[in-house]
């Protein structure tokens, strides 16, 4: 067995932070994804421009660079906003966790918006008309008809994005968040045994992605209940 030299508890704590970061970024990402998709499908050209611009821009940039920019820029933006809106000039602490969540959520949303857009389009047509014919408002149509089905169609793609998100949390180690990668590097610094600890971290990530993968397969089966498929 690998001798963790007493750093096991630290690695466990780091793993917890990794999970918290993944979930927080997922929430932000899903919201941004939905907003982005609706923007792309909007009747107003400027909104479409914003939506498509957001997607194209983020998909063309390295995640690592986006994380670094958010980390250094988040305080700038928030402080500029606070200064002009409220005249507040003191330092606004943007924790590494907040910066990381925003950055990863922002990235997730860009990719998710494409998935949601495709899913919404594939459903919308006849069902939207039928809903309207029954007297449902636009909002009711969206929340009761479109959204539940978008979930089912977009799920495989979203699952893939979730796995990528989970692995991308390692990037946040570079901006100081004490997630798994960062605490592993700390242990390496103390013990001078990089192979042992990075391999342990790799195994932990494998466990996390495997469990997530199983969970996603279960969700996909549940979401597809009652749906007949052309190909089994």
């Amino acid at each position: 067995m690998i001798d963790l030299q007493g750093f096991g508890a630290l690695l466990f704590a780091g793993t917890q932070v990794t999970l918290q970061l993944t979930l927080a970024a997922l929430v932000v990402g899903l919201i941004l994804g939905l907003l982005g998709a609706t923007a792309k499908l909007s009747e107003h050209a400027p909104l479409r421009l914003v939506g498509n611009g957001y997607s194209t821009l983020v998909r063309g940039l390295p995640e690592f660079l986006v994380v670094l920019t958010f980390y250094f820029g988040a305080t700038d933006i928030l402080m500029a906003l606070a200064s002009t809106l409220f005249g507040y000039d003191a330092y606004i602490e943007v924790s590494a966790f907040a910066a990381g969540t925003t950055a990863l959520g922002f990235i997730f949303g860009a990719y998710a918006s494409e998935l949601f857009r495709g899913a919404i389009i594939s459903i919308h047509g006849g069902q939207a008309e039928a809903a309207r014919a029954l007297g449902m408002s636009k909002r009711q149509t969206f929340f009761r008809i479109t959204l539940p089905q978008v979930w089912r169609i977009a799920l495989p793609g979203l699952g893939n994005l979730f796995m990528i998100l989970m692995k991308d949390t390692a990037l946040i180690s570079v901006v100081g968040l004490e997630e798994l990668m960062r605490v592993t590097a700390f242990a390496v610094g103390r013990t001078k045994e990089p192979f042992t600890f990075y391999l342990t971290a790799a195994v932990i990530y494998l466990l996390l992605t495997s469990i997530a993968s199983l969970g996603l397969r279960y969700l996909e089966k549940r979401a597809a209940l009652g749906v007949r498929e052309a190909l089994s």
Binding site: F72, D76, A82, F86, Y88, A90, E93, V175, G176, K192
Partner: protein, 253 residues
């Protein structure tokens, strides 16, 4: 409904109160920024506490100034931007006083004097002149005067820059680097540790007279004078000497 309309008003009120209370206490509270990855000057111990020469000096200065100090950990690369954004009020992290930095921040008087020194494997002769290091792989921490000195004076060498001093030492130990250039006292600490046993200092220090000061935002003359007075005081009354002796058998002032 009126609550929502007044929300902005309430937010402004709340934030103003916070801002006022923040500045009201500003005079007596000082936030010190330090890295925590630069033993023996600043490091994080196994309890997660900041320790080291810089930390001890900062605490002594605060006691002398009768100010309440809190410490904030900050990665080296973002140190000066964070100071200017008011994440903290002073940097006590073994930062050298350089012309470039003085464009962005002000410095106190020195609180120790540093030298740069090459470190390489024991038993191997090393010529640290420009000709001797040509093509050799030399490491240093990014954004430090070691890195800068290498680029200005040993440009023919293969220079590698690292995020932290620790990573540079790791690569020196594994043989990726032929030598590193770093602060003599940090080297002293590492050479005395287990990891540094097979290494030694090479040649004479290449740059002495590197003054280490406390960085503060531009224009904060009041704070600067307080810090300078405090430094003189702790040197005069022996506090400095005690702290110095805790880490080094020689004086580094």
């Amino acid at each position: 409904m009126s609550f929502l309309r007044n929300f902005k008003g309430m937010a402004i009120a709340a934030l103003s109160v916070i801002a006022l209370t923040a500045t009201a206490h500003g005079a007596d509270k000082l936030r010190i920024g330090t890295e925590g990855a630069y033993p023996p000057f600043n490091l994080v111990d196994s309890n997660g506490e900041l320790q080291g020469f810089d930390v001890d000096i900062a605490k002594a200065l605060c006691a002398s100034m009768k100010a309440e100090c809190t410490f904030v950990k900050q990665d080296w690369d973002g140190m000066i931007p964070a100071l200017n954004k008011r994440k903290f009020d002073a940097i006590v992290a073994s930062m050298s006083i350089t012309e470039e930095r003085q464009k962005a921040v002000d410095f106190s008087e020195r609180y120790y004097t540093n030298k740069l020194q090459f470190v390489g494997k024991k038993g191997q002769a090393m010529d640290i002149s420009a000709a001797g290091l040509k093509g050799k792989v030399i490491g240093a921490q990014r954004a430090t005067i070691s890195g800068q000195w290498l680029e200005q004076n040993r440009a023919d060498a293969d220079i590698k820059l690292y995020d932290t001093q620790e990573n540079a030492y790791l690569d020196l130990a594994s043989g990726r680097l032929d030598a590193i250039l770093a602060d003599a006292f940090v080297n002293y600490e590492w050479l005395n540790s287990d990891a540094g046993q097979a290494f030694e200092a090479k040649g004479d220090p290449v740059f002495d007279g590197d003054l280490i000061g406390i960085a503060i935002r531009k224009g904060e003359d009041d704070l600067r004078m307080k810090l300078n007075t405090a430094i003189k005081d702790i040197v005069a009354d022996g506090t400095y000497g005690k702290i110095n002796a805790k880490y080094f058998p020689f004086s580094i002032y």
